[in-house]
C-alpha cells in the first residue's frame, strides 16, 4: 500500500487545570485526547465518531494546527508537522484545511462572501495572481452550488446550508489535499444535511480530496466514510472499514452506540436489542484505570481494571480473515450484530 497522506501517532492533548491567581499551580489536567493513532490514505474518507466530549473536535483542531499537541506526531506525507512554525507551517496549512461545525459563527458577518473566500489568496498570494482571484472565487461559488453573483453579499443573507457551502468553498480555495470536517452538518436541518454531504462526496471526486469526517451521527458517517474510528474518552476504541464496524462491531461501546441508531423499518425494530449503558461518561480529569470503558461496560471483569487493552485485532479473531478481524481495544471482544445489515453492502448506493 502507498504511504498514507496523513498519519497520527500517539496524539495527546492535555489541558492543565491550575489553581491560584498569581502563582499558578497545576492541580490536574483534562485529558481531552489521550493517545490517538490513525492514518488516512489518499482519496479516502476516515469517519471519526463518538459522543460529545470524547475529544473528536480536539483531534480536528490539532490536525489543522489550531492547538498544539501535548505529545505525539502528526505526519503529513511522512513529515512530522506538529512542531512546524513560520513558512513551513504556512505551506502545510495550504494542504490541510478545515470545514467548521457551525456555519453561523464560522463566517465573519462583516465580510462579503468574496472577501471570506478570497482571504485565502491574500494570505497565500502565490496561489492565485491578483487579477485572477475574483474569478477564482466566483468559480468556487459555482463549484459548491451557489450563484457566482452572490460574491458581494454578506453571510446573513444566506441560509444555513448555503452558509456551509460558503465555508466549504473557503476550505477549497487553496486546493488542499486533506479536508478536516468537524461535524459539518450537525448544525443543519436534516433535509439540508443530505445536500451538504452529497456536495462533499462530489467534491472529493472532483478535487481528489481526502477527508477526516467527524460526526456523532452514525448514519451520516457510514454514508460518507470508507473507514471509521470510534472514539471514547480521548481514545480510539475500534477502527476498521465501515462494513466491519457497522455490521460486525466487536467492541462493546461500538455495539452500544450502534444499538441506539434509529431503525426505519418497524419490523426490524421489534427484533433488535437495545443496549442501554448505565452511568455517565467519566470525567476526563479522572480516567479509569485499565480499560477506560470498564465503568460502563457490562462485560467488565478484573482484568479490565488492571490492563489497558491495546488497539489491535483481538486474539480470538486473529486467525480468521472475516470482517470481525479488525482493530478493537477490548479484552473480551466478541462479534455482535446490532443493526440490520444494509442490503446494498458497500457504502454509497442505497435502495433507490
Amino acid at each position: 500500500m502507498a504511504e498514507p497522506i496523513l498519519e497520527v501517532r500517539g496524539l495527546v492533548k492535555h489541558y492543565p487545570l491550575t489553581r491560584g491567581i498569581l502563582f499558578k499551580k497545576q492541580v490536574g489536567s483534562v485529558k481531552a485526547v489521550d493517545g490517538v493513532d490513525f492514518h488516512l490514505d489518499r482519496g479516502e474518507t476516515l469517519g471519526i465518531v463518538g459522543e460529545s466530549g470524547c475529544g473528536k473536535s480536539t483531534v480536528a483542531r490539532m490536525l489543522v494546527h489550531l492547538e498544539r499537541p501535548t505529545a505525539g506526531e502528526i505526519r503529513y506525507k511522512g513529515e512530522d508537522i506538529t512542531r512546524l512554525s513560520g513558512k513551513a507551517l504556512k505551506a502545510v496549512r495550504r494542504n490541510i484545511q478545515m470545514v467548521f461545525q457551525d456555519p453561523y459563527t464560522s463566517l465573519n458577518p462583516r465580510m462579503t462572501v468574496g472577501d471570506i473566500i478570497g482571504e485565502a489568496y491574500d494570505i497565500h498570494p502565490e496561489v492565485a495572481p491578483k487579477g485572477e482571484r475574483r474569478r477564482r472565487v466566483q468559480h468556487l461559488l459555482d463549484v459548491v452550488g451557489l450563484n457566482p453573483e452572490y460574491i458581494n453579499r454578506y453571510p446573513h443573507q444566506f441560509s444555513g446550508g448555503q452558509r456551509q457551502r460558503i465555508g466549504i468553498a473557503r476550505g477549497l480555495a487553496l486546493r488542499p489535499e486533506i479536508i478536516v470536517a468537524d461535524e459539518p452538518v450537525s448544525a443543519l436541518d436534516v433535509s439540508v444535511q443530505a445536500q451538504v454531504i452529497n456536495l462533499l462526496a462530489r467534491l472529493q471526486d472532483e478535487f481528489d480530496l481526502s477527508y477526516i469526517f467527524i460526526a456523532h451521527d452514525l448514519s451520516i458517517v457510514r454514508h460518507i466514510s470508507d473507514r471509521v474510528g470510534v472514539m471514547y474518552l480521548g481514545r480510539i476504541v475500534e477502527t476498521g472499514r465501515d462494513a466491519e464496524i457497522y455490521d460486525h462491531p466487536t467492541h462493546p461501546y461500538t455495539q452500544a452506540l450502534l444499538s441506539a441508531v434509529p431503525v426505519p423499518d418497524p419490523e426490524a425494530r421489534e427484533h433488535r436489542e437495545r443496549i442501554i449503558l448505565s452511568g455517565d461518561v467519566p470525567s476526563p480529569t479522572h480516567i479509569p484505570s485499565g480499560c477506560r470503558f470498564r465503568t460502563r461496560c457490562w462485560k467488565a471483569r478484573e482484568r479490565c481494571a488492571l490492563e489497558v487493552p491495546a488497539l489491535a485485532v483481538p486474539e480470538q479473531f486473529r486467525d480468521t480473515s472475516g470482517p470481525a478481524a479488525h482493530d478493537s481495544a477490548c479484552h473480551f471482544a466478541e462479534e455482535k450484530q446490532v443493526v440490520p445489515p444494509e442490503e446494498a453492502g458497500e457504502h454509497g448506493s442505497g435502495p433507490e
Binding site: Q97, N147, I151, N198
Partner: protein, 334 residues
C-alpha cells in the same frame, strides 16, 4: 494538482441510501438553492450589475451607506460647523470675548447682542462662539486619545491574554479607584500652564481604562468565534486576525461608549475649570461659562442656557455620528 474540471450543474446527487429522510432531501434540494426571502432576492439588479466589476468591502459599503443616511449628514454638518467656528470664530462673531462691561451684567437680548450678557457683562454670543474651540478641542482630542490608547491596550491584552493581560487588568483596576475630581485637583494643581493640553492629558490618563476594559471584553468575545479560528487555520497572521476579523466586530461597544464619553469629557473640563484647576479665566470655554452662570440661573438664565445648549448640541451630534457609523458597520442592519 489537477486543473479544476468544469462544473456540472447536477447538485443533489441521487441515491443517498440513507433512508427516508435523505430521499426527501434530494427532492427539496433544488428549491433550497433559492436565496431566502428578503435576503439577496430584493436586490436582483444589484447582483447582476456587481457580478464582475466592483469588488465591495465592509468599508466601501459602510461609506456608501453613510452618504445616504440623513442622521449622518446632519451630525456631520453640525460637527463641520463646530470645527469651522473653532478654527475661525471671527467668521460669525465680530466682538471680543474678553471685552466686558460690568454695567450691562445679566442683561437680556439686545440688537447686536442676540444672546444677552453674562454676570460679568460679557457678550454671551461671542463667548459661546469663542468657547467652541476649547470645548471641541478637549472633547475630540480627549476622546480620540482615550479611544486609541484604550482600545489598543485593551484589544491587545484581550487578544494575547496571559501575563500582560493580568498586569493590564490590575493597572486598570488601580485607575478605576482614583476619584476623578480628587485626581484632577492633585495632578492639575501642580501645573501652571493655562492651555488645554494638561486637561486633555489628564482626561486621557484617567479615561483610557474604561475603554480598555470594554475593548478587552469585546475582543475576548469575538476572538472565540469560529471565523477567527478559520482565518487562523488559513494561516492568517495575528495582525490580520486583529485588523480584519476582530476589530470590525469588536469596535461597536467602543464607539458607543466613546461618543457618550465625549460629552462627559467636555463637562469634566467645565468641572475642573470651575474648581480652578482646569483652564483659568482669560481662556474662554463653555465649561467656564456654564459654571460661572450656574449660580445666577434665576436672574439670568440665558447666560447659562446658551453655552449649555451649544454643549448639548455638540454632544448630540457626536453621539449621532457614532450611532450612524456603528450601524453602517453592521451589514445585518442594511
Amino acid at each position: 494538482m489537477p486543473e479544476q474540471p468544469p462544473y456540472e450543474p447536477e447538485r443533489a446527487i441521487a441515491g443517498t441510501g440513507m433512508g427516508g429522510q435523505m430521499d426527501l432531501a434530494a427532492s427539496e434540494a433544488t428549491t433550497l438553492e433559492q436565496p431566502p426571502p428578503g435576503g439577496p432576492g430584493e436586490s436582483g439588479h444589484e447582483a447582476s450589475a456587481a457580478s464582475g466589476e466592483r469588488p465591495r468591502s465592509l468599508w466601501s459599503d459602510a461609506w456608501h451607506d453613510l452618504r445616504r443616511n440623513p442622521v449622518f449628514i446632519i451630525a456631520g454638518l453640525v460637527i463641520l460647523f463646530l470645527v469651522l467656528i473653532s478654527v475661525w470664530p471671527s467668521l460669525i462673531a465680530s466682538g471680543n470675548p474678553l471685552k466686558c462691561d460690568l454695567s450691562r451684567a445679566q442683561e437680556g437680548s439686545r440688537p447686536g447682542h442676540p444672546f444677552g450678557f453674562d454676570g460679568q457683562g460679557c457678550d454671551v454670543y461671542t463667548r459661546t462662539v469663542y468657547g467652541a474651540r476649547t470645548s471641541v478641542l478637549v472633547g475630540v482630542l480627549a476622546t480620540l486619545g482615550v479611544a486609541v490608547l484604550g482600545s489598543v491596550l485593551g484589544g491587545l491584552a484581550g487578544f494575547f491574554g496571559g501575563v500582560p493581560d493580568s498586569i493590564l487588568s490590575r493597572i486598570t483596576d488601580v485607575f478605576f479607584a482614583i476619584p476623578v475630581v480628587l485626581g484632577g485637583l492633585v495632578l492639575l494643581s501642580v501645573i501652571t500652564s493655562n492651555t488645554v493640553w494638561p486637561v486633555i492629558g489628564f482626561i486621557v490618563l484617567l479615561g483610557w481604562p474604561q475603554i480598555s476594559r470594554i475593548a478587552r471584553g469585546s475582543v475576548i468575545t469575538v476572538k472565540q468565534n469560529d471565523y477567527v479560528q478559520a482565518a487562523r487555520a488559513l494561516g492568517a497572521s495575528s495582525s490580520r486576525l486583529l485588523l480584519r476579523h476582530i476589530a470590525p466586530n469588536a469596535v461597536a461597544p467602543v464607539i458607543v461608549v466613546a461618543t457618550i464619553a465625549l460629552g462627559t469629557y467636555i463637562a469634566l473640563e467645565a468641572t475642573l475649570s470651575f474648581l480652578g484647576v482646569g483652564l483659568k479665566p482669560p481662556s474662554v470655554s463653555w465649561g467656564i461659562d456654564i459654571s460661572a452662570a450656574a449660580p445666577y440661573i434665576r436672574n439670568a438664565p440665558h447666560a447659562l442656557l446658551w453655552p449649555s445648549g451649544a454643549l448639548a448640541i455638540t454632544v448630540l451630534a457626536f453621539i449621532m455620528l457614532g450611532d450612524a457609523v456603528r450601524d453602517a458597520l453592521d451589514p445585518k442592519l442594511r
